[in-house]
Symmetry: C2
Subunit: 343 residues, 2 copies
Amino acid sequence: MSTTIIEIAQKAGVSIATVSRAFTQNSSIHPDTRRKILRIAEENHYKPNPSARSLSSKRTDTIGVVLPELVDEFFSEIIRGIDEEAYKSQHYVLVASSHSQRNVLETVLEFMFSGRVEGVILMVPQLQNEFIKLISRSKRPVVLIDAPQNINQVVSFNINNFQGAYSVVEHIINHGYKKVGIIIGPEGNCDSDERFRGFSHALKKYNLPLDQDFIIRGDFTYRSGYYSFIRLMSQNKKPDAIFATNDMMALGIYEAARNSQIKIPQDVAIVGFDDIFSSRLLQPRLTTVHVPISELGSSAVRYLFKMINGEVDLHKPCRNELTTGLVIGGSCGCPISNAQIIF
Amino acid sequence: MSTTIIEIAQKAGVSIATVSRAFTQNSSIHPDTRRKILRIAEENHYKPNPSARSLSSKRTDTIGVVLPELVDEFFSEIIRGIDEEAYKSQHYVLVASSHSQRNVLETVLEFMFSGRVEGVILMVPQLQNEFIKLISRSKRPVVLIDAPQNINQVVSFNINNFQGAYSVVEHIINHGYKKVGIIIGPEGNCDSDERFRGFSHALKKYNLPLDQDFIIRGDFTYRSGYYSFIRLMSQNKKPDAIFATNDMMALGIYEAARNSQIKIPQDVAIVGFDDIFSSRLLQPRLTTVHVPISELGSSAVRYLFKMINGEVDLHKPCRNELTTGLVIGGSCGCPISNAQIIF
DNA sequence: GTATTTGATGTAAACGTTTACATTTATCAG
DNA sequence: CTGATAAATGTAAACGTTTACATCAAATAC
């Protein structure tokens, strides 16, 4: 049907082995021969068949990416980081989001055992132990994005949630707020856990009490931010500052505050985490923690390639934390002109 | 190395052909035999090798998706729609963003046609004629998302830009505004062109003049919205309403208005297009045009599968328009309580 | 009882490469 | 000039499936 290596070999007057060599990097072939073959291939619209190639060589030039459903703003940034890096190394990206209808374990297994990809980048905020075992035993390299702190048998790239949370909470404490509330994320979510840890640590450091009434569980959605805020602020004892453990919930807070005539930051200061695009539009702008999202993706890919190329040990655990940065808006009480928002 | 079909055949006491048949849908094999083989395969962690399979059968169970770099909010929604639909049909999704470099797109296309995927979903707002030819001659099915109006040799799924623009502009005209400005998108962008057409048509219909001073070219970015607004409003003759041809530019407008103390909608009414998440956070909420993004992706995939399965003619051009909906906020002058935003 | 059809399975030839090994040719030291 | 070494190319055996075709047994028709 389509042109094969045999045709090209005939037209170039060489064997198929030589044609094959013309298409691979480190093979001994005369530069002139290669040029000639590539020219003829070009003329005949010949491309090596990927299936045949990987059947024979066991390489697929493809990496797999498994993403969770939730992380909306992350999604495109992460993929962009991954895709860009993969493109540089001439690799393809096979994606799968772990849908509600889909069992994550199944997807990952499929990926790892089907031989379709050379390695996997896995992002699952709620990671069970069985996964960890599976991954650490796997023959194919796996890099996690956002792995729980206590897991150390794997390779992972993470946001420094603790540090980020600590510094943003420290920042509001320095404003003089003493009754600091927090809206945490879903149970078992490692980002949320770490951010809570940073929060607690900051309070402790500054000798502030950890008041149970000021700890509300949300689930990282807009809606939960809205309602958690209302719950917090309808108690007799109200916080004077709130740490929303992600920006999406902070957005919900802003709406709830507007609806109940509560002024930010006069009545209550708000800080968030993630620095998502939308948070920059809020009035006053949200003070939050910047996260290097696409870098998370590209770093993960770079490391994955090292594993694939055998430059690093496949089973040597390795935890990497990317540093966060504080983004100061007006929501914490800082005097901020909004004129500088243009980006 | 890993278990092959031969091993399973031996353990099951059948030929490899029978094992193969156990793994394909429409093959004559005794149910008991299949069950037994699948059990043994399961026990031995056997999965058919995808490369071998597709080398032999010419099927890859994979579709390709090429996306532009820009369209941020669309990205994740589109992929979600595509992935979900592909998953239902047991297909994998290979993504590539076109990195906004033209020759890259070419490479990507070639990659896609190298036999790695069974069909391609292509989204490129600025599509050149050479591509159209390439696509319409292609052996593999291609479905376009967002194809220029004047292109009719291909299969495409589109937003009804004209209708959407027409109705939102009609809406502001009905408010009584007579000097309606517009910020259009980048040159050659088909979405922008169609939206402009809808705009002009509405003006004409209501006997309003098309004033060149009220037409400013932006490029769909926040930044361009900001500066285009300033340009529009620093003329002697100012518009009393502005149609931003996408929401991202409307966001920029809001900031520019805030900085120059111009009140929306009292001093100037604003409407947008896309109904992106962020636009719901604006005060007053942006009146805009809702676009069924993920549906665009899933419809495209469904049609692609029909082409792959030969249910529809590969080369029969087919243009599909998905209807948009008007989202009423307060930015056009409508009295709107913001309480209902929670979604 | 024989001929015919049907369904389940086996046989073996693709599918289009890569690559270990063999062969040829060119290069060069002595 | 000879033998050794290196570089370029050829030969042919994998790689792990699918599938057209052949075979065989059982069911059905007459």
